[in-house]
Amino acid sequence: MTASELPTIYSITESEIDLNDLLEKITLTSTGAAAIFTGMVRGVTTRGDAHETEYLEYESYVPMAEAKMKQVADEIRERWPVIEGIAVVQRIGKLYPKTPTVLIACTAAHRDTGVFDAARYGIDRLKEIVPVWKKEIGPNGQEWVEGDYIPKPGE
């Protein structure tokens, strides 16, 4: 199977992230292992500037975000050619504590193939280059969450 035939899902969505469904879509008959990362809205943050969150409001530059998610998937395939399926999903809109907001999942034949590293790389890169922003609404008002990564030419 060539890379272009392998399942690659990338989407910005306002719907619930369905892990069962996404996992099924990136499982081939040769797949034996999946590493999945999900991020959730924290209601309580204790590290750094400790605070509470009522909800987050996510927005995205959708067509660019989906193109950059595809780029993240392409980068994963370039670094870990054994990866079979990839899903990269960011939920946007008003999201409350405990809600999954983002998912990166990678599948492979075996678990010792870099599948964990690939998922880790995916979420790190998403947080660097995929144009999504969140505003935090808490007991003391609202504030945009500040990113700090400056993309380089070619990214």
Partner: protein
Amino acid sequence: MNHIKLLFFATIRDRAGVRSMEMDIPADMTIAGLKEKLSVDYPNLKESMRSVLMTINREYAFDEAVVPANAEIGMFPPVSGG
């Protein structure tokens, strides 16, 4: 002159007060030139121009890049998704 479309997101949109705008710019204008022009025309955006990320047709773009005709220009702060 080149016709372009600007899209603003997050803090930049808040400061611009609009989601998008269309304008005509000189054919040889660079990203740096466009930022300079916006700083002058829209004083609210001036401070944002130092840290703004710019895109041309959905790819990150840098100061020396020339803005092509019919470009879709995105302007936003460093991303904070996840």
